[in-house]
Symmetry: C2
Subunit: 363 residues, 2 copies
Amino acid sequence: MVRVRLQDVAARAGVSVKTVSNVVNGYRHVAPDTRARVQLVLDEMGYRPNLAARNLRAGRTGVIALALPDLDNPYFAELTGSVVRAAEKHGLTVLVDQTEGLRDRELEVVEGFRNHLIDGLVMSPMALRAKDLTGRAAVDIPVVLLGEKFGAGAVDHVAIDNVAAAEAATAHLVALGRTRIAVVGDQPGSRRRSGVAHLRRQGWERALTAAGLDVDERLVAPVPAFDRQHGAAAVAALLDDGARPDALFCFNDTLAIGALRLLADRGIDVPGDVAVIGIDDVAEGRFAVPTLSTVAPDKAGIARTAVAMLAERLDPASEQRPPRDVRAGFELVARESTLGRSASAVSAVRAAAAVPPPRGTAR
Amino acid sequence: MVRVRLQDVAARAGVSVKTVSNVVNGYRHVAPDTRARVQLVLDEMGYRPNLAARNLRAGRTGVIALALPDLDNPYFAELTGSVVRAAEKHGLTVLVDQTEGLRDRELEVVEGFRNHLIDGLVMSPMALRAKDLTGRAAVDIPVVLLGEKFGAGAVDHVAIDNVAAAEAATAHLVALGRTRIAVVGDQPGSRRRSGVAHLRRQGWERALTAAGLDVDERLVAPVPAFDRQHGAAAVAALLDDGARPDALFCFNDTLAIGALRLLADRGIDVPGDVAVIGIDDVAEGRFAVPTLSTVAPDKAGIARTAVAMLAERLDPASEQRPPRDVRAGFELVARESTLGRSASAVSAVRAAAAVPPPRGTAR
DNA sequence: ATGAAAGCGCTAACAG
DNA sequence: CTGTTAGCGCTTTCAT
């Protein structure tokens, strides 16, 4: 409970503050015996550096923020776990901000209300616009964007190729002979070209077109949010409207889980009557009944890359390069919800190459 | 961007640093016109306080740490979301530490390696021992323990009554006429009396005894960890050993999800052949097929209480009371995995009252 | 190899 | 009502 300062240790050890500091920080030029003596006192007194002071001095805190909509979404929860692990390897700690996908809260984060408390920001934006990142109040720390992208190359960005991922998912359904492939998760309200929903829809259309299938608007189920509840509701609405899909491409796994649940309620066989596929490869899908086919983004890779890019920008020694746009890898994982019980073995059908993370990692 | 200090603003506004500080902090005694003028300059220059400096000065940071095993576990992910939300209301930010349930990492956290960077700690321990909290290197900031408890009343503690919750789950199965009720999640290796697994097993035994049923060791499935994978594996082992349970009480929902998956693989009907119940009420269970019966702890309440207790100890104005032991509420939620399709409506069968935060040590 | 002193940006005395 | 000053605990010149 007692606070022990460098000064206190110095007094007791009969040396100067500087020497103690040197020992604490493992500086070279300290006489072995001095070092030993100081270390002893250090241990005896249970010295702990005051990070606030150290930060003030150093101008950096060793803390980065991770801003995302919601930890209740398993994809973000899993991603957070990966980011925390990756950050740790760079000697960084992660502070979590939940924005609920609200523009105001995302703005708050970007405008740096955590000023000088964090060195950098990893953010998964939902409602932000390009101009928000360039306003005068905008953030003065390095930022890495996850998922959505906007403002052509203003800041670093890591994501899978959403169009390609959606195309792969749809093509998988096509390959299984499905012809009335509905999408669950459209968000017509968001006009932004870069919005995840928009991109995934684009991939769907592309795959249909490539297969010579029509893009039928009646097979498009919009949702207000990417969660289980709205996945179920959207599919219910789709069916109630008389659509007769033989497959559902859900824009993420959580929507797909909701879809599976609703189909079970209605006694519709998966994949017999309707095949289902999602995107994200959350652990939940691997244990769902039936197990969920999905497009698996390289979450750990995304996290590692994002943190490494941030760490590089935090390193004053590294020259500042222009913002990068890194494409993470993904692979199609076909499970029971498209292949049926017979092929319950996980089968990796396709992989996309990832742009490797930037050079250099920390200690 | 440019760093703007109080000093810079003061110079430009033609006032002293103190006055600017007063304006920033909304002090009363500032002449309206002075305030207006300073505010203008503040906005013009885009001043942002340096929190590191403020923290050094104030001796507190407004950041608390949440240490838990793993965000991949949906229970902890959901809990984290609640803690972040609760903390926000107290003006606190949350920094996440993943301990992986490892004693070394838990120790590190408790020994305050984040010294002076966090004001308090909320921790869900797995491997810590009582003495770890009292060692000389131990933490010098307020701590609130979640879930497991040890070291009789050394620090604040919030949890449901694990024995009662397990008893309620088991009693529910008994009430449905099940007689060969297995448990999934025993951890015989952990001898600690307070371990969650130990307590839940105790509740199971108590309910069996109350119902006049035997405690059959062959119906006890141990697991190395509380996740889906080990839930499935444990049930597989149980069945392969020739046990013939007609119900499974899983020590948490994640184990139960794994169990459901394995039962589906083996073509065993739930709840026809085997009823299944868990504890935690994770969102995943509400959409599982079949939906998972569970004991729902008041997660939001736990988070709010934990943060409130921490906030109180952080407030220098509040007198220090002895460590409290708060019991959070829970309720049994019966769904399809015990009631079958017919009763798919969620039915709250029982609720336990939460001991409110006030003073007075619970037992 | 070690010490003395300055100062990171802020707020809390204490003056005026 | 506003200005001056003294640190919070640490690292870092600059001396020695």
